[in-house]
């Protein structure tokens, strides 16, 4: 009998939460760690990654009380992209700093008394610690639809309708851009970058890849091959295969947070191989487009809209030969 009670208790504990199991004002939410009971309308959310989770929460107007961040050269914490896209910092936004990647401050999180913690698969390593503080959900990234990540975060935060309205606006802008630039359909592109004298070619570069694909541009075969092999971002490639990067458009990025200027990406290429631009027709003909990294990697609708306008402006300025 004793064994039966223990077994039944353990089995009950192992079962996922259902709507009936959750307390009043709570609901069952499916996430990477199973099903959790979370507040219907969370009032104190902690985001475990600045430029993905917190960025989305801020955009949809969720009530964020704490976030992961990074330390700048002076040792002051900041939220990458959140600062640049929405102008928020830890000092003035009311969002508390709860640590850096792999060095989260669990006591600081607990002190904020959150009612919901939202993270990614990467943060699941410390799942038990987060769950001891508040209901925690971990959202999958990198699926076939990259926007699903933001949608699931918005859903957990109880702001799905806001997210859907923003999504509809983005779709409408996209439709207009596609209609305005039919020539972009089927044009090829390569996302390249020279860093520390090494050539990086990207299969995926966050929002930039999403917007380019939405506009109908296609990756060069090398990037397609990387994506097919499951490469998440990109690879360091020998400069010797530079001619294989021939494309109608070349995209590069500069990082404002590192103090880069618009001229730096090109200068890095020239330092590694002075005549690189002559080798790549798109560069020689003025179709080498440099964008800020802070705008290019994220999936917030503000970033996607900015990318949409920047890309269409550049592409319209120097169209690729038909």
């Amino acid at each position: 009998m004793k064994m039966f009670v223990i077994a039944t208790t353990l089995a009950a504990l192992a079962l996922p939460a259902t709507a009936q199991d959750c307390a009043k004002d709570q609901r069952a939410f499916d996430h990477l760690g199973g099903t959790a009971c979370i507040p219907e309308d969370p009032q104190r959310i902690v985001g475990l990654h600045d430029q993905s989770v917190t960025l989305t929460l801020v955009e949809i107007g969720a009530k964020v009380v704490g976030s992961h961040g990074r330390l700048n050269d002076a040792g002051a914490p900041y939220m990458r992209s959140v600062d640049m896209i929405f102008g928020l910092d830890f000092e003035t936004s009311g969002i508390g700093f709860v640590g850096t990647f792999n060095a989260m401050d669990f006591e600081a999180i607990a002190a904020l008394e959150p009612d919901l913690i939202i993270g990614r698969k990467l943060e699941m390593e410390a799942r038990a610690q987060y769950e001891a503080i508040a209901p925690s959900v971990f959202i999958a990234q990198g699926g076939p639809d990259p926007l699903a990540f933001g949608r699931d975060i918005a859903d957990a935060a109880g702001h799905l309708s806001v997210w859907e309205a923003m999504h509809a606006t983005y779709q409408a802008n996209l439709d207009r851009a596609r209609a305005a630039f039919p020539a972009a359909q089927g044009a090829s592109y390569a996302k390249i970058q020279m860093y520390d004298n090494k050539l990086e070619v990207y299969a995926n570069y966050g929002g930039l890849t999403k917007v380019l694909a939405n506009l109908g541009l296609i990756r060069i075969p090398m990037a397609e091959d990387m994506a097919a092999r499951g490469v998440i971002w990109g690879e360091e490639i020998s400069l010797e295969v530079l001619p294989e990067l021939q494309a109608d458009y070349l995209f590069d990025t500069y990082t404002i947070a590192y103090g880069d200027t618009l001229a730096d990406p090109r200068a890095r290429f020239e330092a590694a191989l002075p005549s690189w631009c002559r080798v790549l027709t798109a560069c020689a003909e003025g179709r080498y487009i440099v964008l800020p990294r802070e705008i290019s990697t994220g999936y917030s609708f503000r970033q996607l809209d900015m990318l949409l306008h920047l890309i269409t402006t550049h592409v319209a300025r120097v169209p690729a030969p038909s």
Binding site: R70, Y195, N197, E240, V241, L242, P243
Partner: protein, 333 residues
Amino acid sequence: MTALLRSGIVGSGTVFALGALALAFGWHIAVGAKVIPLSVVIDALATPDPREFDHMVIRDLRLPRALFAVLVGGALAVAGALMQGTTRNPLAEPGLLGLLSGASFAVVMAVGVFDVANPALTPLIAAIGALGAASIVWLIATSAPGGATPLTLVLSGAAVTAFLGALISIANLLDEDSFETLRVWLTGTLAGRSTGVMLWALPWLIAGMGVALVVARQVTALSMGDETATGLGVDVTRLKALVLFSVVALTAAAVAIAGPMGFVGLIVPHAARLIFGHDYRVIVPFCAIFGATFLLVADIAARMVLSPVEVSTGIVTALLGAPFFVWLVRARL
């Protein structure tokens, strides 16, 4: 008779070693991610055309990289040989005794924390780091019961390397943006290295190599023991100071150019001793040639195995060096 035999070995060894180096150098610039016919390679060297991309690949990418491999491989191998001869420790080399991590730590802190990215200062900073780490390793080993034995030196080196690695990790955690630029360099790489840094490292390399060649004869005496060397008229203290300078200068130059490249200084001197015995007048120059050849071949593997993706050359040297280290420990300790 023995002298004649030895001079014969050295003579034919010289021809063999220089031939192997020339072959490896030629191989290095003839192969790569892009297939270039041999005739084009020769044209690129003999009658370069700056408009030809293949010529650019040979002259601007492969040739400098081969040169870096020659300099770094030669420097680390000679540093390892001097360390092994002076300490009579078969496991001594810049990596295992903490000099590489000391030099790397100093460069990482200078660039990441103090924002000192001047290529002219990089070799000096690396030298200070290497010297500091060597001193700490020596102090720890000598204060251990039994003194500075091969085992205590290697253990002290491992401890200092782990400690400095932990400090680098902490600094990285506190400011990941600044340390991002050093991520690949810390694995030891010849890809895309700056000619500017190489030019600033060259005087250190020449000075270190020059001293190594000058003291090589006395190192042979020292390798037989301090008392024997003193009996043969060697000023042991002065000699050790000169060897220390040479080792630190060579390690600093190598680290400034390519980051920490482990095990080159372990494998190559053993190979040289296997062929030429224990005369450091012969071992030192041959280590320079063999070290250059070894790193050229390792770098060919780094460029070709996953082509067009490149792996750090330091990863290849570690893959080759770690099993050799295990064999050495089993065979010689």
